[in-house]
């Protein structure tokens, strides 16, 4: 099998060039590249790749249609299962999903399913192909569904139930829909015009989106139940965690959410043309080792930092971030300091952070996550900084459960659901990060799909 051709790499902009702006880094396949990559797929009859896709895209079928240059039909096949393919094609951790189960992965050369999905979705956007998501039995069901949160989980529930003929309204607290897709993931990985277009498509198909509605404050779950037959909660895990060490409230210590929200949602990278400011540090430290940390570090470089350090308490091989994103960060000049744990922030007379004290760590026995546990040594070091970004993680958003005691949460604040997405409150369903803690876009979408099916089934019994 050594004759298996290598994967066609997705073209990227050069590091020095891409650091100058927030434009997208990965450029996407040309038609020729897409055709070449598609030709590698061996069309396995048992479709193992599909098992790895939580929204069950018929992968071999759309790849076959690419080969035949029937892009519009390929798009239809994808859209049939995934309402936002231009997004999933870009940000899905494919190496842990569809591509992991691809037969060719055994030879280290899985099909670049994500890149092909992106190619088709971008082709359709450019050609203005728009696929009506309602199906023929529209209006055959009647029921009104409220979806809380417009992140990936909410988007799938809305799109699935709309197709089944329900009337769907999404309630979103912020002024732009999309959840983390809009406020978290940076422009250089996921251009916001793409998110806008995908959501516009949903609105044009008939989903109603109400912005500026904070469920639990503007309206309660109880009020919503008077008007809607069922409610889906997809409010995500956007509540930042803290290190709980001295000095954490010094100025210019950001949570990753604040840093990224200022940049992505509020466009602070275009300040003063947009009004929201952000502190552009010279020496920036990012604490954490996940995707959020990579996004924050790479954003800080683009704002003009001289040096950006990622401080992580384990080593590179334990970092939860996608390999591709770690490699991108390295190429761009992000420096990594491993086996360190911040123990104190020190500030200057103006209350601005100026130094981080770090405890050196060593790796011990594996902990409950299976990764070696970092153990403090008795050695400390210090680094000089002027901006710090805390990217250690999030808690589930507490607003809805806080105001609705019938909805039970576990001790980590995650809404408890059964296997089919039902919460402990009748007619109320939940999915995505609010249920799993910190997951991924595609996992959240998978939860949305399950909940939509359950809602439809439960409604049929009414």
């Amino acid at each position: 099998m050594s004759k298996i051709k290598s994967r066609v790499l997705i073209p990227k902009r050069e590091p020095l060039e891409r650091l100058k702006d927030f434009n997208e880094v990965a450029l996407g396949y040309s038609e020729k590249e897409a055709l070449e990559e598609a030709s590698r797929c061996i069309q396995c009859p048992s479709k193992p790749c599909v098992q790895g896709c939580p929204v069950e895209i018929d992968i071999p079928r759309f790849i076959k249609l690419i080969r035949e240059r029937r892009y519009e039909e390929a798009y239809k096949v994808i859209k049939d299962k995934c309402p936002i393919p231009a997004i999933t094609g870009r940000v899905c951790p494919q190496e842990k999903q569809c591509e992991k189960l691809c037969t060719l992965a055994k030879f280290g050369k899985p099909i670049a399913i994500g890149a092909l999905e992106r190619f088709v979705a971008d082709w359709a956007r450019e050609k203005g192909v728009y696929i009506e998501v309602r199906n023929s039995n529209f209006n055959s069901k009647n029921g009104k569904i409220a979806v809380i949160g417009s992140g990936p989980a909410g988007i799938v529930v809305a799109s699935d139930l709309l197709r089944l003929g329900y009337e769907v309204t999404i309630f979103e607290a912020l002024h732009v829909p999309g959840g983390v897709l809009t406020y978290g993931i940076p422009e250089f990985r996921l251009p916001k015009r793409i998110v806008n277009d995908e959501i516009k498509c949903l609105v044009e198909s008939g989903v109603n989106i109400e912005l500026g509605f904070i469920v639990g404050k503007t309206i309660t779950i109880y009020d919503l139940l008077k008007e809607f037959n069922a409610i889906f909660i997809g409010t995500g895990a956007g509540h930042p965690r803290f290190l709980e060490i001295p000095g954490e409230n010094l100025s210019y210590i950001y949570t990753a959410n604040e840093f990224l929200t200022r940049i992505n949602l509020m466009k602070a990278y275009l300040f003063p043309y947009y009004d929201t400011p952000i502190r552009k540090g010279k020496y920036v430290a990012v604490i954490g080792g996940g995707n959020t940390a990579m996004d924050a570090a790479r954003s800080a470089l683009r704002l003009g930092a001289e040096k950006v350090f990622v401080l992580y308490r384990r080593t590179k091989s334990e970092m939860p971030a996608r390999r591709e994103e770690i490699a991108n960060a390295e190429e761009e000049g992000v420096e990594f300091i491993f086996l360190v744990q911040p123990i104190e922030f020190i500030g200057n007379s103006l209350g601005a952070v100026s130094e981080i004290k770090l405890m050196k760590m060593r790796l011990g026995e594996p902990d409950e996550t299976g990764r070696p546990k970092p153990i403090p040594t008795d050695e400390t070091i210090s680094i000089q900084v002027d901006v710090v970004i805390n990217a250690i993680g999030f808690h589930p958003n507490p607003l809805v459960p806080m105001t609705t005691p019938e909805i039970k949460v576990d001790k980590r604040g995650r809404i408890i659901v059964d296997k089919e997405g039902r919460t402990t409150m009748p007619k109320v369903y939940a999915g995505g990060d609010i249920v799993v803690g910190e997951g991924t876009v595609i996992e959240a979408m998978g939860w949305g799909r399950i909940a939509a099916r359950t809602i439809d089934r439960d409604m049929s019994f009414l």
């Binding site: 607290a173 210019y252 009004d275 400011p277 209350g351």
Partner: protein
């Protein structure tokens, strides 16, 4: 997707201080004293918090009072009746805990006198004796005197230059009232952070419980970003949804004061650009 947050009325209360009624029925329906809204004047604007000063469930409007201190508040001040703001959300924050008390002292300074109005009214409505202390730099900047008077049992006024009421700060008035033997059940305060810090220390000295409505910088207003975090009793708390009111004696005031100055440089740059561009949207 678009909602219309139409400006219904606008009144200039003092130089640079404006009152605005906005059509926002779903906020008016559930608003409670002590809560606030997040506002964006236009699409490129900042999300800024402003206190709900008054509202009408029946007519569907909410009222804000703001001082034009930077680009966001200046942009807001440009809106005229009939025009619509880009975005308004709310009500944010935990409502004031209002109960019948013998005596409540309300201390409010500057533009925040308006923010104290719904609180004074709520305590008065449940039958508490309300003693209000309001203050401003000078008489021309003193707003909402009539409104506060209408919901207070007693009113005290101070100005920094003595052009109206007592010459001095609201904290001086608080100090002298407590020194003269007044024993309120609660001192409730809103205003410049330094004023609240001083009043909090005075209340503590006299063993009086005090609550302060804090004004940290905010971005999301819903517990997502952590911009509004403050330290109370040594713990990090989110002012936007656990607050904005906290036990005044437990707040780390100096930290809050420093955090409020974080964007001085950027704010000045932004303001310069805005004014050089003609000061319009």
């Amino acid at each position: 997707m678009a909602n219309s947050y139409r400006v219904l009325r606008k009144r200039i209360l003092a130089s640079g201080i404006k009152e605005m009624d906005i059509y926002a029925p779903r906020i008016a329906r559930v608003a409670m004293p002590g809560q606030f809204i997040m506002v964006m004047a236009d699409e490129g604007g900042e999300r800024i918090p402003l206190t709900l000063v008054d509202w009408s469930k029946v007519e569907g409007w909410i009222r804000i009072v703001f001082q034009e201190v930077g680009v966001s508040t200046m942009k807001l001040g440009l809106f005229e009746p009939g025009e619509s703001l880009y975005y308004v959300s709310g009500p944010h924050g935990t409502p004031t805990h209002v109960s019948k008390l013998n005596t409540v002292v309300i201390v409010a300074g500057g533009v925040a006198i308006a923010a104290a109005y719904p609180i004074a009214k709520a305590f008065r409505d449940v039958g508490s004796r309300v003693i209000s202390i309001i203050g401003a730099k000078n008489s021309s900047l003193l707003i909402y005197e009539e409104e506060i008077k209408s919901v207070s049992t007693e009113i005290h006024i101070s100005t920094d230059d003595g052009s109206r009421g007592i010459r001095g700060f609201t904290s001086d008035v608080l100090e002298s009232l407590l020194a003269s033997g007044l024993k309120p059940d609660l001192v409730w305060m809103v205003g410049p952070t330094i004023m609240m810090k001083v009043c909090s220390a005075i209340a503590k000295r006299y063993g009086v419980r005090a609550v302060a409505s804090l004004n940290p910088i905010m971005v999301c207003g819903m517990g997502m970003c952590g911009a509004c975090r403050i330290r109370v009793d040594g713990r990090i708390r989110f002012a936007c949804f656990e607050g904005p009111e906290f036990d005044a004696s437990s707040v780390e005031w100096d930290e809050l004061i420093l955090r409020l100055q974080m964007y001085r440089e950027e704010e000045q740059l932004s303001l310069k650009r805005f004014l050089e561009g003609g000061g319009h949207i």
